[in-house]
């Protein structure tokens, strides 16, 4: 258990940020911004999943928003079709998406780099067509559960009926997602993934079952994406196929790189760029599409000068500042 519960400075800052979001943000934000922040918190969880896969194993998945759609679909179906509590539906949605992620991943396990990215993008395209064709359940009859006209009301968690409480609920779920990733990183799977990223041959020589651990990582990525989609369904009450286009998966991955895939701050920055920046620009009277120009500039910046993303640059600057201060004090 060596170092398992050690909290790093980055960990403390993460816990502090979570406390800020859970305790203060719901009190300060109006109803519009509560909805925006809740959506951003959901996408933070999804981006954490795809960033984890990229940072730990170097694998590119362009299906994450599609997997969010799967989680959202299962959540809506269970919510309208059963009387199970929200929490049970959330867990079932996340697990169902994890299994779905595994099924998608199995043919792709022998692929890497561009070919893996293309296969996952095609899967996202397939999901986009399924969502557009069959729509999301809204309380109708049958397997697809779609009815024309007004939809049935969505049951939010008993603990989080109000928008403020629901933002807190989602923030806690996102925090649990980050803790799940960190726990894995510090245990056997994290070490196995580090070896696989170094070299698959070296990992096999170290006794690592590469197929098992790659599948495991895809499962966690799917689990987090599914949970994020289920929470998004809880926030909005109904989902629209336009949210889960394949192009959004590409955008989410690109922003995970811009934010910094290796750090928790990177997922938060990426979600803020994706979900908070456009409404912020609209509020300032600027065309929200300007966000795409900013995303492109951010991606160029990451590719050319900041391989660890904005979060990596910020951390580097902070470490350098402390080092200078220590030298000055000495």
């Amino acid at each position: 258990m060596r170092g398992l519960f050690h909290v790093t400075p980055s960990g403390w800052s993460g816990l502090g940020f979570a406390a800020f979001v859970i305790l203060l943000v719901p009190e300060l934000a109006g109803s519009y911004w509560l909805s925006v922040f809740t959506s951003a918190a959901c996408f933070t969880l999804a981006i954490a999943g795809v960033a984890f896969l990229y940072a730990r194993l170097g694998l590119v998945s362009l299906t994450q928003v599609g997997l969010m759609g799967v989680g959202g679909w299962v959540m809506l179906r269970l919510n309208h079709g059963t009387d199970l509590p929200f929490e049970v539906n959330l867990v079932l949605s996340a697990l169902a998406t994890m299994v779905f992620g595994w099924i998608l991943a199995l043919p792709a396990l022998r692929l890497r780099g561009l070919y893996l990215a293309l296969v996952t993008l095609m899967a996202a395209g397939g999901l986009e067509i399924v969502f557009a064709t069959f729509q999301f359940p809204n309380g109708g009859e049958g397997f697809w559960g779609v009815t024309i006209g007004s939809s049935e009301p969505f049951r939010r968690p008993a603990l989080a009926q109000s928008p403020e409480a629901y933002l807190r609920y989602v923030a806690i779920c996102a925090l649990l997602g980050f803790l799940l990733i960190e726990l894995h990183r510090r245990l056997q799977p994290g070490r196995a993934w580090a070896m696989i990223r170094r070299s698959e041959a070296a990992a096999m020589a170290a006794g690592v079952n590469v197929t098992l651990y790659k599948t495991w990582a895809f499962g966690i990525c799917g689990l987090l994406g599914g949970a994020a989609g289920a929470l998004l369904a809880g926030s909005l009450g109904l989902l629209d196929d336009g949210t889960f286009r394949a192009s959004e998966s590409v955008m989410v991955f690109a922003l995970a790189v811009v934010g910094g895939a290796r750090y928790w701050q990177g997922a938060v920055i990426a979600a803020a760029l994706y979900k908070i920046l456009p409404p912020l620009l609209s509020t300032w009277g600027v065309d929200a599409d300007l966000a795409f120009v900013i995303f492109g500039a951010g991606l160029l910046h990451a590719v050319i000068t900041a391989p660890d993303g904005i979060a990596g640059q910020l951390r580097g600057a902070i470490v350098a500042r402390f080092a200078r201060k220590e030298r000055a004090d000495a």
């Binding site: 056997q188 070490r191 580090a194 070299s199 990992a203 170290a206 690592v208 079952n209």
Partner: protein
Amino acid sequence: MLEITDITVRFGGVVALNEVSARFTQPIGGIIGPNGAGKTTLMNVISGFVEPAGGRIERDGQNLLALAPHRRAHWGLRRSFQKEEIAEDLTVFENVLVQIDHGRAERGRKSAEVLRMLELVGMADRMDKPGEALNSFERRLTDVAKCLVGSPRIVMFDEPAGGLSIDETRQLGRLIRAIHDETGAQTLVIDHDVDLIREICAETLVLDFGKRIAFGPTSEVLDNPKVKAAYLGTEEIGI
């Protein structure tokens, strides 16, 4: 005893190994040969990274070719590569622990074994150092410690002395010689450093263009005119 029988490997039309056989009976054996002779290919076959077209590899009654690569590591096969494969974001301790993570021993025993082997190679005082902060010799020593944990049966080093200074090579040679006494494992070493091979290997296999050209006690093998001609580059006389 490691028994390699009639191993043949083909890459398309190229025969990388042509019915190579050898029975390694000594604690430390060497594999030498000029570049492209098939040394690393043979090690890759033993590791499971290359599937041979034919042949057998057995040790203690176990047919190694029947096991998946990671299962060979669980069985007791250890392998170090030409370039030290140390994960940058794991500490020295964690890099070694990976090798026995799959085992069923309790965590405390695994940690104690990792510590013992880090002490043996002289890296215990740097066990919390991340892989990215290690110099090449420290990485090589960490690699050696990885090969020693978990009751290894066969340990293979592929050019372990590449890029090391004379003193570092001597220290590495001492460590390799200690492996059999410490763990009971049989060791195979590929290297171009003939002095190192002569010093540590009791028997040596020489390959050239994928064929075995000599096998036996190292001093005899290195004096073999065929070996001198093929490997050391001297003129072949009277053969």
